[in-house]
Symmetry: C2
Subunit: 480 residues, 2 copies
């Protein structure tokens, strides 16, 4: 006999008491992820995949609306190709998984499983681009990549992950820079308007930028433990990769020039940020925009009341016109058990329908974000639920934003800067000298680094840490 | 200076003269595929990917409508897990790519890049399935897999390919068998109704079935060179994988039993079949259902005729209500050059609009399948094009089916059977003994094997090859 690993809803520890264990248990018990046999790899279970499909559709639609096309580039990259851009390979080589045997034979050259695809895409762009008429090239791919990470957590950091990587080539630096900002803005928009995840966007410091980039821009979300989560990056690659992979074009002036490239990516990590930001002690809380079931209808049958299930079915059918609705008509589970399960799985709105509701022509509506319940006339249920979904979507963003702002501290001098970082509440905004050595020393003393640089410093300001003249205003935090 | 690799439409060899070279040139020149740096790997370029998105959406919709959910399982499978099902590993081991180094260290156990995912999914199902209430489990994944093939061709056989693999678990053999037939029928439906690719569906012989399956069913399309292309497979895995991976459940009778599993897959190979089946000497011919541009509007500007481009734009906008329309308003290319290019890329309907058309309030419509042109009143353009798209879709299937049927020969005796197979025209339908040794001898003498078994033999019939009593009617052909 197999062990009776029961499917009852188990206890999730309080979120505030142990965020890390809370997160893991929500991932497992809400059936979002499970551990795979290879360390650091996970299975994205159907419920999480359904959320991911909704998230990716939102990104994909915006990529296409801004002229990008999808394509698919190969998983395997020869070592000799990967090493052409020196900084790039230095950054990624320690994390590469290598294929050394195939078809029963030892390969003459190691093949990297792509950690990112600049190398192979650069080589193809060199073949495809000849003239200024071929530019810009605006391509995105949805793919899996592998990075041999040491410490891993479901979605937030995994050996293999799903992501999208956009790769574009342009005739001028200005056009490439505009592309980088456009994609960063799309990331911000999806994070905030769809995932209800408020983010700070800005430029990365030299220490924190992408290996091989001129500049990296990122969106950063604040997690409940005060750590920042990098949720999307957009890179100005300059002509570094164009030189390494010989991507040139004949310009209108008949001169041969190197193109200017960009790359930008978002991974399933953003789903981890979503789980962590909105969830509560009862489990997951999903923004309606990406909830596979926006509404669950739970009939509460009673012996001798044959009209409850048909009424629930009719209500679900009616609501399907304006929302993603699931009717939970399982006979083997009790209504309270179902309430718990759908709370655990974060469904934004639950509609309960018992014999008394049917008789009184009302429905009981419970909202997941506030856990409050209300009774509304049956005839008004559709309109009320539509309004509620919009209210919940906006409310989650407002709540997360207020929380983020409350945990964002401005520091101008050494003592308050260090105290704020050591308190580990959230972002510390401070004037900064932009010196790489200064950042390393801050990291050594507090564990925090710059997350993004957001504009220049106030005139005459000094670096909050080292006292040298400040060049910029930076957001500091520890990070995932 | 870079070589002037011009983007002019190059010569494609006549399809009948050299199918293989024709196919390669269509893939390259229509910008469907390009060769990647690793032997046998390709890039799926944006135009092919757009077709693939339309194809996968058709499959995905039907999978979901039949109760399946998508999920994502890991790329890497430990060797010890892969080898648990003996026949399965024997079939796949020679084709596996192995990861042996990661994170700068030699791994203690080799990790296979999935050639297919029965092993890792079996292990997860063993964790997830406890009770008959957990069944059936109906999961599909869209993923990349790697098989170390020797001879490769774009889409048709590549080291890495994109596919979907469905994996289901059931309480009874009957239910699993019904699932296998349901998915086979979905494959047939998409192949015929969407891709206009007529297929024969049926069971595979023992020699040809999937490694580890009880029975494999497949759809087979006939290519212009008389070879069959296996375009989708659906496997009854019996309890083989359930035993190997210990997938058990407590049944209603309180007994612990092994589940019955199935798997079924379609890959980007079906895109190769589509290209080969419908194309002609001018290039690709796409069925409207999966054409990224169903209609291309080409204005023919003339000096002093400023109204042509606005008229083309208005027409394109109007047509967008009922079709996927592309307006080719590039100034740097001539109209004839555009006609050639869109023919090469297989766009079903081309609308030409010149000064004379605008003045006469007509449009000229060219259809890709027959290369015929007609002039219709501007006011009727929308309705005519809608009708044409349906006509082309149906016409391509009818043409391919008539061609397939004309090249399907029935043979009942040794001499005509051998002659038909050696003529290599297409399918040879014959009574067969179902003996594995007989099939191997047929293969040795003709290069052909059974493609599918379609029902029993006529009473008293003898095997067309060996003369022993026939058990079944089989379709024979050489294959891709």
């Amino acid at each position: 006999m197999k062990e009776a690993a029961k499917k009852e809803v188990q206890r999730i520890p309080p979120k505030a008491a142990d965020l890390s264990e809370w997160y893991t248990q929500v991932c497992l018990q809400a059936q979002l992820a499970d551990y795979a046999p290879v360390r650091g790899c996970i299975v994205m279970r159907p419920y999480a995949y359904a959320i991911w499909e909704l998230i990716t559709a939102e990104f994909d639609r915006r990529f296409k609306a801004t002229g990008h096309q999808n394509a698919y580039f190969p998983l395997l990259i020869p070592e000799s190709l990967l090493v052409r851009e020196a900084e790039h390979v230095e950054g990624f080589a320690p994390e590469v998984a290598w294929v050394t045997e195939g078809g029963g034979e030892r390969l003459t050259e190691r093949l990297a499983i792509r950690p990112t695809s600049e190398a192979v895409i650069g080589m193809m762009y060199a073949k495809w681009i000849q003239s200024h008429r071929d530019l810009p090239v605006l391509i995105n791919q949805w793919a899996n990549v592998v990075r041999w990470e040491k410490a891993t957590r479901p979605f937030l950091r995994t050996l293999e992950f799903l992501w999208q990587e956009g790769h574009t080539a342009h005739a001028t630096r200005e056009e490439a820079a505009a592309e980088v900002q456009q994609m960063l803005e799309i990331y911000r928009e999806v994070a905030e308007d769809v995932l209800a995840l408020p983010v700070i966007s800005g430029r990365k410091s030299e220490n924190e930028k992408f290996a091989g980039a001129l500049s990296t821009y990122a969106i950063e979300a604040l997690m409940p433990d005060g750590k920042a989560l990098q949720a999307g990056t957009s890179h100005e690659l300059g002509q570094n990769f164009a030189r390494a992979y010989d991507i040139t074009f004949t310009d209108v002036d008949e001169q041969t020039k190197h193109v200017w490239t960009t790359s930008w990516g978002v991974s399933w990590r953003i789903l981890g940020g979503l789980i962590m930001a909105h969830g509560d002690d009862n489990g997951l809380v999903l923004p309606p925009a990406i909830a596979p079931h926006q509404v669950v209808v739970v009939p509460i049958p009673r012996k001798g009341a044959d009209d409850v299930l048909p009424a629930a079915r009719a209500l679900a059918d009616e609501l399907r016109g304006s929302a993603r609705v699931h009717l939970d008509d399982r006979a083997e589970q009790t209504a309270p058990w179902k309430f718990n399960e759908w709370e655990l799985r974060g469904v934004p709105v639950r509609v309960e329908l018992g014999k008394r509701d049917v008789d009184a022509q009302v429905v009981t509506i419970a909202r997941r974000d506030t856990l409050s319940r209300e009774t509304v006339p049956r005839a008004e249920a559709g309109a009320r639920i539509t309004a509620l979904l919009a209210e919940i979507q906006a409310g989650l963003l407002a709540r997360a934003r207020a929380d983020r702002d409350a945990r964002t501290i401005v520091a101008r001098d050494h003592a308050s800067f260090l105290a704020a970082l050591r308190a580990q509440q959230g972002f510390v905004v401070a004037p900064w000298c932009e010196d790489a050595a200064c950042e390393l020393e801050i990291k050594a003393q507090t564990g925090a680094v710059t997350r993004v640089i957001k504009g220049g410093a106030e005139s005459g300001a000094s670096c909050a840490f080292c006292g040298k003249p400040a060049k910029v205003t930076a957001y500091f935090a520890r990070s995932y």
